[in-house]
């Protein structure tokens, strides 16, 4: 009970700090006069036009404080934090969902409407808003909407079903595209290395083997730095 409460406090705190960030915005005319933030700390190869759009989206606010807190709570019900790689809060999932809702406005009605449905349901059943309900109550609500009909188009299913599908998708994708989520997944790439084939124990696990004839044609990584030279028939000499 105590532990649960402390998680909730952390979540609510995270939601609030996310909003504090948005609270810093000035009115949009002022923002648009800013020169694109080429010196921004989070610069990631954007063009000036793309930066302008980012600034515009960041200046907008989609969810209010209560909705951000509800998203934070719901996301941790969907994907509970787990040592050592945390959960949706450590992955900044609530802010990610806020951003994506603005970036892909087609999601907005489902997200906003779904959050309203969640509170209405919780108020009706338990006399308390979703975010303040007990975990068991929250789970009871989720249990009703977390199974969609895989044979039917999602758009043809009730809004709350669509909402949960979308929230689960955004939560899981938000988590696994974060630093902690990538660590949890164990992805080892996105860094310079020298590829020299699948490790033997992995080949063994999957019952695969390299064809020696094929491998003989492949790059000898010990000579990758030696400038290529060929004979007149295209045979590599180096």
């Amino acid at each position: 009970m105590d532990r649960r409460k402390s998680i909730q406090t952390i979540i609510l705190g995270a939601g609030a700090s996310a909003l504090a960030f948005h609270g810093c915005k000035t009115d949009s005319t002022e923002v648009s006069q800013e020169i694109p933030a080429t010196e921004a700390t989070n610069y990631f190869g954007r063009t000036p036009a793309e930066l302008e759009r980012l600034e515009k989206l960041n200046a907008e606010q989609l969810f209010n404080a209560h909705e951000m807190e509800t998203i934070a709570v719901l996301s941790t019900v969907i994907l509970p934090p787990k040592e050592p790689h945390g959960g949706p809060i450590e992955a900044d999932v609530p802010n990610f969902i806020e951003f994506m809702g603005k970036d892909i406005p087609e999601m907005q009605n489902t997200l906003l409407g779904g959050l309203m449905w969640l509170d209405h349901k919780s108020n009706t059943e338990f006399g308390v808003e979703f975010k303040a309900a007990t975990l068991a109550q929250q789970q009871q609500i989720c249990d009703e909407i977390c199974w969609h009909d895989t044979e039917l188009d999602l758009e043809k299913q009730p809004l709350e079903i669509q909402f949960f599908f979308l929230m689960r998708g955004l939560t899981v994708t938000g988590y696994y595209t974060s630093k902690v989520g990538i660590a949890d997944l164990g992805y080892k790439g996105n860094m310079p290395n020298v590829w020299d084939g699948v490790p033997q124990e992995v080949l063994d696990q999957h019952g695969m083997a390299y064809d020696p004839e094929w491998i003989a044609k492949c790059v000898d990584q010990s000579k990758r730095n030696v400038i290529a030279e060929w004979d007149e028939h295209g045979n590599l000499l180096t």
């Binding site: 063009t47 992805y187 699948v198 999957h206 695969m208 492949c218 030696v226």
Partner: protein, 581 residues
């Protein structure tokens, strides 16, 4: 203010006369720049987009993590995801195009120095002897006025200059070359090799222009991040800027680059010969003129056709080089159809290693079919994808959606989602068939006089429909993919597209291999350029993009664009020397 408005109305003419103006800086323009500058000519390169250098940390997306962006790599700003290094996709702000009713064509443009070479798949396949003689082979389309032997020396030089990995397999229509050694197959590629073997489909190492081995001291070697689509900051993949234009400048060539400059038309003198180009500077929105002895168009097949058609004068009332009325005709893209499957044998993988590899496929299947036993002409190759790639937006969205294939429940929530994500990570394998459509006069682009772009230039209107031949080819692709997935013990991720979906045949333009709009030929009545890519009508205008292609092959067009651009450049140098132009 009044006076400055008057100034704006005037076309600004530069006094300098260049030897050659090259319009466009992609594969064809880059190669012409390199060859002509190396020959000592004074060059102006006119590019519609901004300057771009893959090594610039400000624009670089290579090695970024999804969490470096608030949208985690989603494709809201760039069609192939926000790390893709193409400024512009099938839509470019302020540059619309239109369609004839009931037809489709999707037109990709990359507005930047180097153009589409900054993000392309680097699949670098030579055309084979049969590919130049389509009509002789099966009666469809037209033969090229040249054959493989004319192009072979340039392919050979190109392999050595740019670098391409692959292997000499002695295949008749997939010729040998001067290859760098290929990387070893990844795990899913071993599954593919085994699956294909069961159906008698050949698999050979991929052929991609990435440096698995050093070729000179100016370019780096591949460090296997798998992100060639982001353009390599150490120049270990081929991009026209980093591998052709910068080296041309570095070796002392006279190359002046005009960026953000959108060419409107080729200007002509009283005799109807080209004097240069007029262009709109996108920054001040004013029209300027550049002069040159020779104009080389390399703006991409459709853009070059557009420039020619917009270059109307009393000497060329039907557009420049268009006395034949063939400019814009015979537009054709590669055919494409795709499928993917989940492979149980690839589930529950060890994530102990980095298998990013090179960008794209380490193995592929060149065309193997015998058309005498098939109901369509020409063929296709199969590109393979899969593996434990970098998670980006969308990863894990339907974390246990594949459960339905195994009789397990789909949906729910909780800790088990983590297990679901890991269970299926790296278990999907996908195929893209990329084939040859037939060039037809009825498929074309033309000027739409009712619509202009933001720079006041009349836009292209497309008129393109696939025929039964391409649809039958797509059906064959789907049947093949179904068999391959079955051979690997896998389950297709989606229902096999049927007749009513054209068997999943991509819309024209979606494969981004459009060619043929200014085709070459010996007869000026039925072709736009001669076999050296010189306009029949105007001897000092050349086209070195994919416009002069008579037919696409079941190959990707870039390697041939560059080989032919080099060949045309040699011809230009020779003709200038002999004072013929």
């Amino acid at each position: 203010m009044e006076t400055s408005n008057i100034v704006i109305m005037q076309i600004k003419e530069s006094t300098e006369i260049y030897d050659v103006i090259i319009v466009g800086s992609g594969a064809g323009g880059g190669m012409a720049t390199k060859q002509l500058a190396d020959a000592g000519l004074n060059i102006a390169v006119v590019e519609a987009g901004p300057f771009f250098d893959p090594a610039d940390p400000k624009t670089m997306t290579q090695l970024k993590w999804p969490y470096d962006s608030p949208r985690r790599g989603a494709n809201t700003d760039r069609a192939f995801g926000e790390w893709d290094m193409s400024y512009g996709d099938w839509e470019v702000d302020g540059e619309p195009y239109t369609h004839a009713e009931g037809t489709t064509f999707k037109w990709w443009r990359s507005r930047m120095l180097g153009g589409r070479t900054n993000h392309w798949g680097r699949i670098s396949l030579r055309f084979g002897p049969k590919d130049f003689k389509g009509k002789t082979r099966d009666g469809y389309g037209e033969d090229w006025p040249i054959g493989y032997d004319d192009v072979k020396p340039y392919y050979d030089k190109l392999d050595k200059l740019i670098g391409v990995f692959g292997t000499n397999e002695g295949l008749e229509n997939d010729p040998d070359g001067f290859f760098l050694p290929p990387p070893k197959p990844r795990l899913h590629e071993l599954f593919y090799i085994e699956g294909a073997k069961k159906s008698g489909i050949p698999v050979i190492p991929g052929r991609l222009s990435m440096l698995t081995k050093r070729i000179n001291n100016d370019r780096g070697i591949c460090f296997y991040c798998g992100q060639c689509s982001r353009s390599c900051s150490v120049y270990a993949d081929f991009s026209a800027g980093s591998c052709l234009i910068f080296p041309a400048q570095k070796s002392g060539g006279k190359v002046k680059i005009y960026v953000n400059s959108m060419v409107r038309e080729v200007t002509v003198d009283e005799e109807g010969r080209a004097t240069g180009v007029s262009y709109i500077n996108k920054e001040d929105r004013k029209e300027y003129k550049l002069k040159a002895k020779v104009v080389v168009l390399a703006a991409s097949a459709c853009s070059s056709a557009r420039i020619l058609l917009n270059s109307k004068s009393k000497q060329h009332p039907n557009g420049l080089g268009n006395s034949s009325d063939v400019v814009g005709k015979y537009l054709h893209d590669s055919t494409g159809s795709s499928a993917s499957g989940v492979i149980p044998g690839l589930m529950n993988r060890k994530v102990s290693y980095n298998e990013d590899g090179t960008g794209g496929m380490h193995v592929y299947s060149p065309w193997w079919g015998d058309n005498s036993k098939l109901d369509f002409p020409r063929g296709y190759h199969i590109e393979v994808w899969g593996g434990m790639g970098q998670p980006n937006y969308g990863f894990g969205f339907d974390a246990n959606g594949f459960n339905k294939f195994f009789g397990l429940k789909v949906g729910g929530y909780g800790d088990s989602l983590r297990d679901d994500v890991k269970k299926y990570y790296g278990s999907v394998i996908g195929f893209g068939g990329r084939g040859e459509g037939i060039a037809r006069k009825e498929n074309y682009c033309e000027i739409d006089p009712t619509t202009v772009d933001d720079y006041g230039i009349p836009v292209l209107k497309f008129n393109y429909k696939w025929s039964d031949l391409e649809i039958k080819q797509a059906k064959h692709m789907q049947d093949t993919f179904e068999e391959l997935i079955h051979n690997m013990g896998g389950i297709p991720l989606s229902d096999k597209p049927g007749k009513e979906q054209n068997y999943g045949l991509n819309a024209p333009g979606e494969i981004i291999h459009e060619v043929g709009t200014t085709r070459m030929g010996n007869d000026p009545k039925t072709s736009v350029t001669n076999k050296f890519q010189q306009l029949h009508d105007v001897d000092n205008v050349f086209i070195v993009d994919a416009g002069p292609f008579v037919s696409q092959a079941d190959k990707n067009c870039t390697w041939t664009i560059m080989a032919l651009s080099w060949r045309a450049s040699d011809y230009i140098i020779e003709q200038l020397k002999q004072q013929n132009i």
